[in-house]
Amino acid sequence: MKFHWFHLMPYPELPDDFVEKHRSVWVDYPNSEFDPAVGNRAYNEYLGQLEFAGEVGFDGICVNEHHSNAYGLMPSPNLMASILARTTTKPKIVVMGNSVALYNPAIRVAEEMAMIDVLSNGRLVAGFPVGTPMDTAFCMGQNPATLREKYREGVDLVLKAWTSREPFAFNGQYNQLRYVNIWPRPVQQPHPPVWIPGGGSIETWDWCVENDFLYAFLSYFGYKRAKATMESFWEVVDKRGAEMNPYRAGFLQFVAIAENEAEAERIYGPAACYFYNRALRVYPGFASPPGYSTIATLRKGIGSQVVDTTKLPDLTWKDIVNQGFVVTGTPDSVAQQLNEMADVMRVGHLMMLFHFGNLPDAAVRYNTERFAKEVAPKLRHRFSDWEDRWWPKDPVAAPAPVLVPA
C-alpha cells in the first residue's frame, strides 16, 4: 500500500463572519478578501510541508488545480510541482491534476507535464480531472454541455503527444493542430502513469478500466460513505474482466493523529471546522450546472460530491468524527481503521490530508511525522502481492543534484 501527502492549499484566513456575509468560497467570493501577505506566507509554508512529507517517507506528494476560490490556492498545480521537482528527490510528484478541457490547445498540458517529468527525472504522476463545476463552467467559462467531450479529446491528444515520436496532425473537435511535436517529451515510457480523480460517474469507471487509468475517488466524507461507490467501481472492473488489482484505485482521507480524544479535538477541531464550515462552502447554484452530470449517471441515481457539500450543516468536531469524515485516534487506532478501510475499499493508493483548513504548521508536521513513523510501517505490507502498474518506476539514472541557493 502506498501513502501520498495531499495539499489543498486553502486560504487560511477566512474571517469568522464569512458564512454570514458570503454565499460561496468559490466563483464569486471577491478577491478584495485575498491578502497577498497571507498568501505569501501560506504558499511557502505549504510547500515546506510537502517537502517535509517527502523527507519523512511519503511515497507521493500531491497538488491539484482549482480556480477563483479560497478553498484551494492552486490555479496552476504545475507551478507548484515544478518547484517540488527541484526541492525534492525522493517522493513522486502526483499532480491531481490538470483539467485538460480548460487548456486550448490541450497540448499545453502535455508540454508542462513533460517538463515536470524531465525536471524530476521521471517522478510525475499525471492526473486528469474533469474539474469541478465551479472551476470549469463558472470560473473558466466552459460549456457544461460539451465539457466531457472536450475533456476526453484533450486527454487523447496529451497521450498521443507523449507517445508519438514523429510530428502528427490532430483534427479534433476542440483542438486542431497541424503539427504536434512536443519538446521535451517525458522521461517515463510509454508515458507517466495516468490517474483520473473523480466523483462517481459511471462512464468514468468504464473509461478508466478500458484505458488502464487509475481511478481515484476524492471525497471528504470518509471511507464508510464511499464504500458503495467503490463497490460499484470494482463491479465494473470485474465485469469488464480486468485485473482486480488494488493499485488501480485511490482514495482520499483526512487523518488526525493524537494521544487521546481530547488532544485530537484540541489540535484539529478548530481547523477541521474551518475547513468543513468555511473553506468548503459552495453556493448550491454552482454545484450542478445542467450537462455536467451525464444522463447515464443521473439514471444510475449517482449523487454528486459537490452537491453533497452544499448540503452540509454547520459541523462540530464531534459531528466530523462521528460521521467518519476524519480518521482520528492514536497511531495504533488509525492503523487499525485504515486497515479496515483497505479491506472495505480495496484501494492501493491512499491520498491523505494531514493539513486541515488553517491548521498551524507545527500541528501539520506533528500529524505527518507520527503517521510516517508509527502508522505507515504497519500498513505497507498490504497488497504487496500485487504489482503496482500505476506508479513511476525508479529511474535508471541518478537524479540530478538539487541545487538550492544557500
Binding site: 466563483v27 463552467a137 463558472f138 467559462g141 466552459q142 460549456n143 457544461p144 454541455a145 460539451t146 473537435q173 453556493y283 448550491p284 447554484g285 454552482f286 450546472p289 445542467p290 450537462g291 452530470s293 444522463i295 443521473l298 439514471r299 441515481g301
Partner: protein, 264 residues
Amino acid sequence: MLNSEKIAVRNGPAQTVYRGGRGEPLFWLHGLQRPQADDPVLNALAEHFEVFAPVAPGYDDLTEIDEIRDVHDLALQYDGLMQALGLNGVTVGGHSLGAMVAAELAAHVTARAKRLVLASPLGLWNDAYPVADLIARPVPEIDELLWAGAGHRPDIRAEEEAADPAVRVERLVTLASQLTTFAKFTWPIPDRGLRRRLPRITAPTLVMFGADDAFVPARYAEDFVALLEHGRKRVRPGGHMLPYEHPAGFAAEVAEFARVPTYA
C-alpha cells in the same frame, strides 16, 4: 388542443411538431420549457394561425444535439424542418432561446420569414445591463427570474418528490436535458454573434419584452431594434414569461402584427 407528429428532417434529427389552428401559417419556436398539446400560448396562437411548433432538438433526447454544435447548425436544422413542412415566406417567431434561434434562422435563410416575432429574445449582450445567470440558479429559484406576475405557469421544475424513484429520476433527466440544451447555446454568455447577423434579416420584426423581465432586461429591445432593418419594439407589463402571463393578449398582438402589410 394541438396534435403532434414526428417530421423527418434531411441531414438532421427528426423533430416532433405540434400543429393546430387555422389561418396563415405561424412557425413558432418555444422557450425554456418544452411545449405540450395543451400549451396555453400555442393554443392562443392557434386561434389566429395555423401553428407549427417544433420541440427543440435535444429537449427529448440530448444525443440529438451531438452534431448540432452551434447556432449555425441549429438555424440550418430549422431551415430543414421548414423545408420538410413546406413552409416558406411565413410568419416565424419564438420566445426566449426560441426567439434567438428564430432570429438566427431568419438571418441565415432570409426568405423563410416574411414576418418575425421575437418575444423576450436572448442573443445579445450589453455590459451595462447583463443577462442574468439562469444556469447558476438552483432550480427552485428559477421561477423568480422568469415570472413578474401571475399567470399560467407550465411546470419546468421537478415536482414534489414522487413516490416512485423511477419517476423521480425520469423527471430529473427531462429537466437536465432541457437545461443542458439551453446551456449549450447560451453558456457562458448568450452572445453567439447574432449582433453581426441581425442586419441581414429582411422580414419586418416585432421585438416584445416584459418591462419587468429579470432575466433578459427589456432594454435589449432597443438593441435589437437598432440592429434590425425593419424592427419595432413593444414593451408590455410583465416578465420574461410575458407570453404565458397573458396568452390571449399576446397572441392577439402577434396576429395584429402579422396582418399589417408593411410598416407605415
